[in-house]
């Protein structure tokens, strides 16, 4: 039977910044119990020993200041609650303690448990309920942005667990290089917001292959003209600045940037695809966050197959080497397509290595030079090679939906 998978020509990934699943989508548990969000049973101890429950009191801006620590040692505390023993297990009990370390203010440290009400996030919550929401999409590393974003581009961070520049080590290549150098050639582009926001993939891709990049304005034009490449990766605006068309508010949702600006960006990307009848039927859009930003989530990250690269003992700051054998904290992830049944909830485990894994398997028949982490990462879109496993195919509808939401963008 023909499904939406047969129509698919474009994959678009929009990667936002630094928010956990519970923080953004935890409220949806009250609407759909299959969504693994916030319950009354959850809590974290603060530094006085008092139990702090998640509360729907998150604010768009001004609340998470200073920016919650999400470097490797802090995330280690958040996940393991301060247990450094060899037999430790993740318990997600160290978020409040970790945030206290920054301002030494007990009351303020409790804000790390706050989450948004569904009505606060009309875009993200609506898309999660309308399309496929992932209950188990984790950051690739229990650490910060750069190394996590590296997994989305390369399927590995080449042993890095921090924010420092890294070198691409052969034979592994970016998913963009793999696509454009393939025979037959494929098309791929990274759209950064503008040159004043630029990209987080500076040292390797921007420096060596600037032709891979376009701006967000170009992305919108490419959508309107239905000339999107087969694979598009969209980066948000990372800073407040005055651009050529006036004031540009950061819309990456990184604390302490306004969450509403990010809501608008997500809606705008969605609507530019949604309203073009030449694009909407053959495009799948993934909205995902690079890491949790130090903000509370209740699901312990699982173990995974180790990567080829290990960090040194010194790099993680925990006096132990890291073998890339467990994932980071859970993040929001939503797959959007008019071929996905309404209100789909996915329980399989994914991380950002799933992005190049999916794109490579869908567009490239044979791609032997993939990192161990990418090889072992699950795919969120099945390769369209018969027979397609119907239980795994998220674009499973035989008829395209005509009830997908519209936003006033």
């Amino acid at each position: 039977m023909s499904t939406g998978l047969d129509q698919l020509k474009h994959i678009v990934v929009l990667m936002m910044e630094n928010r956990s699943f519970d923080h953004m989508l935890g409220s949806l548990k009250a609407i759909d119990s299959r969504i693994d969000g916030v319950t009354d049973q959850l809590s974290n101890p603060d530094t006085t020993g008092a139990s702090v429950k998640p509360q729907p009191l998150a604010e768009f801006q001004g609340q998470l200041n200073p920016d919650p620590d999400h470097h490797f040692p802090a995330v280690d505390l958040q996940i393991f609650g301060g247990d450094a023993s060899p037999t430790r297990a993740p318990n997600m009990q160290g978020f409040v303690k970790s945030y206290f370390n920054q301002r030494r203010d007990v009351e303020h440290s409790q804000k790390i448990m706050y989450y948004f009400k569904q009505s606060d996030l009309p875009v993200l919550a609506k898309l999660a309920l309308e399309f496929a929401v992932f209950n188990r999409w984790f950051a690739s590393i229990p650490g910060p942005t750069i190394c996590n974003r590296a997994f989305a581009h390369y399927g590995t961070s080449f042993g890095r667990v921090d924010m420092n520049p890294f070198d691409v080590i052969e034979p592994f290549k970016s998913i963009y290089t793999r696509l454009i150098k393939a025979t037959p050639k494929h098309t791929a582009k990274i759209y950064y917001y503008d040159t004043t926001s630029s990209t987080m993939e500076v040292v390797n891709l921007l420096q060596n292959q600037p032709e891979l990049f376009g701006t967000y304005d170009q992305f919108k034009k490419d959508c309107d003209q239905a000339i999107l490449p087969e694979y598009s990766f969209v980066e948000p605006n990372y800073n407040d600045h005055t651009g050529d068309s006036g004031e540009e508010v950061a819309n990456d949702q990184h604390p302490d940037h306004d969450v509403l600006a990010g809501e608008f960006l997500i809606a705008e990307v969605y609507m530019h695809i949604r309203r073009n009848p030449k694009l909407w039927p053959n495009t799948a859009m993934l909205v995902v966050y690079d890491e949790h930003g130090g903000i509370y989530d209740h699901v312990p990250p699982p173990a995974c197959k180790p990567d080829k690269f290990h960090s040194s003992e010194a790099d993680p700051g925990t006096k132990q080497p890291f073998k890339f054998d467990r994932l980071g904290v859970r993040v929001p992830a939503i797959l959007i397509s008019p071929w996905i049944p309404k209100n789909t909830v996915v329980d399989r485990v994914f991380d950002h290595a799933s992005i190049p894994a999916t794109v490579a398997k869908f567009f490239l028949e044979d791609d032997p030079n993939r990192s161990p982490r990418e090889i072992n990462a699950d795919v969120f879109i099945e390769p369209n090679v018969q027979p397609v496993d119907a239980n795994r195919n998220l674009l499973s509808l035989a008829n395209m939906r005509d009830d997908c939401p519209k936003f006033d963008i």
Binding site: N164, T196, D408
Partner: protein
């Protein structure tokens, strides 16, 4: 079908004087790493250690990003300038044997004479 309203961020959201976060500082250090490899004429005059705010970070990010694109664009122009020359040389070389073969023929005739 209902059209869902998307609230716009408040005007107060914009604050270029906000201290640059760790991500922006990392982005600056990556750009600086790349800038060191650029020819001198493309380099920024901004002192990165003095960057404290998002607005200041944004200025540097823009300058270096544009410089990277410009350096590549200029290199491509130079390449393009060289390429037609080579093309003409090849074309000229392709023409030469015909002329020389005529000359040779004449010479041969002369020799025969």
């Amino acid at each position: 079908m209902e059209v869902i309203h998307v609230p716009r961020p408040s005007k107060k959201a914009m604050d270029p004087d906000r201290p640059a976060n760790a991500l922006l500082l990392a982005q600056i250090s990556h750009l600086q790493h790349v800038e060191r490899r650029l020819p001198l004429r493309y380099r920024s005059e901004i002192y990165t250690h003095a960057i404290k705010t998002e607005g200041e970070a944004a200025s540097y990010i823009r300058e270096v990003t544009e410089a990277i694109h410009q350096a590549h664009a200029d290199a491509a122009k130079q390449r393009a300038k060289r390429t037609p020359k080579r093309g003409l040389e090849i074309a000229a070389a392709a023409e030469r044997p015909k002329r020389s073969s005529k000359k040779k023929t004449k010479t041969t005739k002369r020799r025969k004479k």
